[in-house]
Symmetry: C2
Subunit: 132 residues, 2 copies
């Protein structure tokens, strides 16, 4: 069984990764970490190098946790939701984990479009976590 | 630790309950099943009796599964999302589980307002499951 987690280097992304490591320990699952970037002219060389460094650190954390897993940095011009769903289908995932931003007291009542899309179109259950 | 699940007698509600029973077994958690009804003139005597019967069956399933848990039928004039979040806060829940409808091929891209509200305002992680 596989858990797919969407990772970005924010506190929500960290919360999702931490939870994914815990769930993999509990369920003895394999972890697939996805970092999705649309790429193109919006992605500078510096940003691409930082992404690579971040993902190497994630790889090291998976190894340190003694979990079987892999990290995929996807730059295919797709929305993060599409990349997550594609990989969940490909790996026949049991669970997708995503980080959600906490709503501020005056925050709007609408979830981001990527989160909604993952929730609606995922082939499996979706666990939504927030930063502590 | 407690898992709170929103139950309705639909295939999505059943999927949420089934998953909640599995997660309680895996995590050794206590289960709190919430059935929320706004009540008022929209709730007929027949419907209220059917709700009671459904919840007694759920109680029996929890007992059969050997899980510690309780069933609460809430009729407090609140939206299901409010009831779920209130109980999650009160029980210091570790996880809320909700059922989501599957999108049809021509389905709209917007999640229901109750699901969005639970996802945005839950004090803990939210697991969204679909019917098989």
């Amino acid at each position: 069984m596989t858990i797919v987690v969407g990772y970005v280097s924010t506190k929500e992304g960290e919360a999702a990764l931490e939870r994914a490591l815990e769930e993999c320990r509990l369920r003895k699952n394999t972890l697939v970490v996805i970092h999705s970037d649309r790429g193109g002219s919006g992605l500078s060389g510096d940003a691409a190098r930082k992404n690579d460094d971040d993902l190497k650190k994630v790889q090291a954390r998976i190894a340190d946790a003694g979990i079987e897993g892999e990290v995929r940095g996807l730059v295919r011009g797709k929305e993060p939701a599409e990349d997550l769903i594609d990989v969940a289908e490909e790996t026949d995932a049991d669970l997708i984990i995503i980080g959600l931003r906490r709503r501020t007291p005056v925050g709007k009542l609408i979830l981001g479009s990527n989160a909604q899309r993952v929730l609606l179109d995922a082939p499996c259950a979706v666990l939504a976590v927030k930063a502590r």
